[in-house]
């Protein structure tokens, strides 16, 4: 790693003339105050051979769940890292083979529990491809709103906990305050905060209540100011920069080969965003940018996720503008439940209701893999149907699982205290990794 110099200015607004956060130059810049950061020291010769085995987790606040890392240390430098996972394994994929498609949606809430809305949307998209269903325009826009809201929520949790791991407490409170606003919005919409189960195959569990869009507009209007505030505190903060720059570097080629996705991949300079490259939900018609880092370290991952929140706000504003009227659910009694009033008064609707609940919708024989851009990366649902109402195989492609697999490489040669920062930068959710 070459020597990098980062300008540290605590007094600036942190925004350039376009209103974007200013990029900290990562090459040597002679003007201004600058601190020089040496690359992390390698194995010190006098300590060679004095290796120590240290165990972090599975019960440790900085492992973000029940992750266990066994580290071999030389002094304070990590020589080798062996991750252990599986403490939260519940066999979601096995259970899915015994459930109807709409029942599986409840399980998708519980895997990546910071992004339950996004998972609901992803699963419904996969199931709809398997069923051959085209959803309504209103449903598409509502799903985009759901996915982007949960992206912001997930990134806010990541930002807050990452700050705490590194030692900054205040941004955590700011982030969680705004997250609470999103939770209130979601609670108004689907009645739950964490386990949302917001989608159904062919539509949504519920349309938005009246006046809900005003709450969303209020949020998208005021939220950027919180981002600016956090940006002012962190992005050019000397301690923050010192704790994040140059850590856990993945080159673009490595990142692709290790299968990283999401902000982890984009921080390394690879502009792969599922929303842009393999679009779904008409994402190609929204105007948004894909932020890409240059050096692939923890600091770049922070910048990329931070910018992604701004881009999500942009998408939310556009979605709120274009939300069309019309039905949310498709008009097909074989997959969508009839209204309750009809089910209790009309014979035909009652039969449909009974069939959908007791037998469940049946897709034709086939299979589908639909990937979406979750806050963690490429989240895919692979479903195989043999024509019955329950899938033969339901596979979750967990982005944090694949991202976490690279941690032995990323922490090698870094200090023990940096392991915490690198681990936090992956943005892992153990519910998704262990499933």
């Amino acid at each position: 790693m070459s020597k990098r110099t980062v300008e540290v200015e605590l007094s600036t607004s942190g925004l350039d003339r376009h209103g974007r956060p200013q990029r900290v130059p990562l090459v040597t810049n002679d003007g201004g105050t600058a601190i020089a950061l040496e690359p992390p020291p390698g194995v010190e010769p006098d300590l060679e051979g004095e290796h120590m085995l240290i165990n972090i987790g599975p019960q440790h606040p900085a492992t973000h769940g029940v992750l266990r890392l066994v580290l071999e240390l030389d002094g304070e430098t990590v020589v080798r890292c062996i991750p252990h996972i599986g403490y939260l394994h519940c066999g979601f994929e096995k259970i899915g083979e015994y459930r109807q498609y709409n029942q599986i949606i409840c399980w998708t809430d519980r895997e990546d529990y910071l992004n339950s809305l996004g998972n609901n949307v992803a699963f419904a998209l996969g199931a709809e491809r398997l069923f051959g269903i085209e959803i309504t325009e209103r449903c598409k826009v509502l799903r985009v709103i759901a996915a982007e809201l949960s992206r912001i929520m997930s990134h806010l949790v990541w930002l807050g906990t990452f700050c705490i791991d590194i030692g900054a407490f205040t941004p955590f409170l700011w982030a969680f305050q705004r997250r609470e606003e999103i939770y209130r919005l979601i609670e108004k919409w689907v009645g739950a905060r964490l386990t949302t189960s917001a989608t159904r195959v062919g539509g949504m569990a519920a349309d938005i209540p009246s006046g809900w869009m005003d709450g969303l507009r209020r949020f998208t209007h005021t939220f950027p100011s919180t981002l600016d505030e956090i940006d002012r505190v962190l992005t050019r903060n000397a301690i923050w920069v010192g704790r994040t720059v140059g850590l856990g570097v993945m080159t673009p080629a490595e990142a692709v080969n290790w299968g990283l996705s999401g902000p982890m991949l984009r921080a390394s300079g690879v502009a792969y965003d599922v929303r842009r490259d393999f679009p779904y939900l008409d994402y190609e018609t929204y105007d948004f940018d894909v932020p890409v880092g240059t050096s692939g370290d923890v600091y770049d991952r922070y910048l990329v996720r931070f910018e992604e929140m701004r881009q999500s706000v942009r998408i939310l504003v556009q979605a709120a503008e274009r939300l069309p009227d019309g039905p949310v659910n498709i008009d097909d009694p074989r997959t969508i439940l009839p209204p309750k009033s009809k089910a209790t008064s009309e014979m035909e609707s009652m039969i449909h209701h009974f069939k959908v609940v007791m037998e469940g919708p049946r897709p034709p024989i086939g299979e589908s893999y639909v990937a979406v851009e979750s806050p963690k990366g490429e989240k895919g649902y692979y479903m195989v149907s043999d024509g019955t109402s329950k899938p033969v195989r339901w596979r979750i492609r967990p982005p944090s699982f694949v991202n976490l697999a690279a941690i032995p490489k990323m922490v090698e040669g870094h200090l023990l205290s940096d392991v915490i920062a690198i681990n936090a930068s992956i943005d892992i959710v153990m519910g998704e990794i262990d499933r």
Binding site: R20, G91, V290, E367, R393
Partner: protein, 231 residues
């Protein structure tokens, strides 16, 4: 100070910008051009090509999977540089073979390809590891082994990942594995109590550090034989 670099991926790849697929046919439709290229290059190995819901599936002979995926990865006209997923499918029909599934992406060409190979039951469930081609296959293949018992030849560290290493009930995602597990609660409890709670580290981990020298004699002997703690 330079502004935050924002790269538009639409400018990166050739061809028109991708759009959301709509009204996909159940069977048929346009196949991924890589399937045809594979058929030309590996004529004997490609068993059949299917297009289901717009996704191309190439069924390959188990012996040539690694060569074919390696070619897809390296060839400049294909450039499948990204491994999305490695998994397996077992059908409810007990006669049907187990399928190993690879999901590959070509980021430069924006292509998606599903490679499948069929492993007959009764024969050893083995296929070649693509660890050498994609490092991302490491944990994905371990999970596939853990859940289905499929051995990936050439994987350097093929051991259980989600289940613990001394797990003896078999492979949970196989169809003959009952939903509630093979062992009763009392048997599971008995096995858990029989574990050595002091054995925090696996033998492999102890062997990497100096702790090895401080181990009792019998543990070192077991380690040399390749045994594991806690079993």
């Amino acid at each position: 100070m330079t502004p935050f670099e924002v790269v538009d991926t639409g400018a990166r790849a050739a061809g028109p910008p991708p759009v959301t697929p709509k009204n996909l046919p159940h069977r048929g439709g346009e196949a991924n051009p890589s399937a045809k290229a594979l058929q030309e290059k590996f004529a004997g190995a490609v068993k059949r090509v299917e297009v289901i819901w717009g996704e191309t599936v190439v069924y390959l002979d188990p012996a040539s999977v690694k060569d074919a995926i390696g070619w897809l990865h390296d060839d400049t006209s294909q450039q499948y540089d990204y491994l999305s997923d490695v998994t397996a499918v077992e059908y409810r029909d007990a006669e049907a073979p187990i399928e190993v599934v690879w999901h590959l992406r070509s980021l430069p060409f924006r292509r998606f390809l599903r490679i499948k190979t069929e492993l007959r039951k009764g024969e050893p469930l083995e296929t070649d590891s693509i660890y050498d081609i994609y490092r991302g296959a490491d944990w994905l293949e371990r999970e596939c082994f853990d859940m289905f018992g499929i051995r990936f030849r050439g994987h350097p560290d093929l051991r259980r990942i989600l289940m613990w290493e001394s797990y003896k009930e078999g492979f949970p995602l196989r169809k003959d594995f009952p939903l509630r597990g093979r062992f009763s609660r009392s048997e599971q409890l008995r096995q858990a109590l029989a574990q050595n709670p002091e054995a925090r580290y696996s033998m492999e981990e102890l062997s990497i550090a100096d702790a090895f020298a401080e181990l009792p004699e019998d543990m070192r002997a077991r380690l040399n034989k390749g045994g594991r703690t806690g079993e």
